[in-house]
């Protein structure tokens, strides 16, 4: 029963993703993307990934949506209908992109399904992923770092360097946006 409740938001996710991609109104699609992120955060909370869910809720549903709306306000709101404008070979090229895109996607999906065959079952406590490094984090981190939140212990201590990298990524994004958008100072 629990699983059914759990599956529902997953299906909802798929629906949101499809709508966001297919919707012509970009603002609407953006809002739906926000909803998608929020549901995703809910799913992760259900999976007990509280830190990640927290982040997704603030970043994915919050900041990303705001940024996209801001960007939309500076560009255009609607996706145009190629059918009205493109005729002849242009129209054809358009559909070639879609068809080939579809094939690439199917191919990738096949590879993924193939790869999933030998994966440990969902939630298996004896999956290798939970045994090797992770077990040590759970068993020793309190003693070694004095931090009760394992995620923080790993994030800030065992893999603190990754976090430095992560902060650098954010910093890089900031610099990139400045370089791309900041108005030139007139001297």
């Amino acid at each position: 029963m629990m699983e059914v409740i759990y599956i529902l938001p997953l299906l909802f996710l798929v629906a949101c993703a499809l709508t966001a991609v297919l919707m012509k109104d970009l603002l609407g699609a953006t809002i739906i993307l926000g909803a998608y992120s929020l549901i995703m955060a809910v799913v992760w909370t259900m999976l007990n990934a509280v830190d990640v869910a927290f982040t997704e809720a603030s970043v994915g549903a919050g900041i990303t949506t705001v940024l996209m709306v801001a960007a939309l306000s500076r560009t255009v709101r609607g996706e145009y209908e190629p059918a009205h404008e493109a005729r002849g070979w242009k129209r054809k090229r358009f559909s070639i992109t879609k068809v080939s895109g579809f094939f690439v996607v199917v191919l990738t999906a096949a590879a993924m399904i193939y790869g999933t065959m030998d994966m440990p079952d969902f939630g298996d406590p004896n999956a290798p992923a939970n045994l090797h490094v992770a077990r040590r984090y759970i068993e020793e981190s309190r003693h070694e770092t004095g931090v009760p939140n394992f995620v923080t212990a790993v994030l800030a201590s065992y893999r603190g360097y990754d976090t430095l990298g992560e902060t650098t990524v954010i910093f890089t994004a900031g610099m990139s946006v400045i370089l791309l958008l900041r108005r030139i100072r007139r001297e």
Partner: protein, 149 residues
Amino acid sequence: MKEHIVIRTVSRLLIPFIQLFALYVIAHGDISPGGGFQGGVIIGASVILYVISFGMEDGRRRVSESISDFMNSAGVFLFAGIGVLCILAGGAYLEYTAFAGKAAHGEHAEHALHLASHLGIYGIEIGVGITVAAVMMTIFFETARHEDD
């Protein structure tokens, strides 16, 4: 949007609490969900909320370009700097326990190590928070800017 008195009032009331919450999130990252990144995002979001309700110019008056630019760098610098301090204290990069120094082998070794570790973790969480908050503001300021301002 500048005309909406309700929004302005509500934001004015909410923003200090949002920011307080953000500080809580940063400070309690070690015992509860959250940490520097989430806290930073919330601070950034609070500024964005301010800008949305009071307008870009007002926002820039509160957080000027040079301040946010400074914060961008300052946060990562704090983070990376703590790593370098660890090296200077005789450990590896980001080996916080190096701060414990001689105490690491003394009577209260574990306590000292935990203290050093906490010190480092707080340091970097604050660093992350500063940078994330500043970058979020920066990105928003740059993205949402309009031709006329």
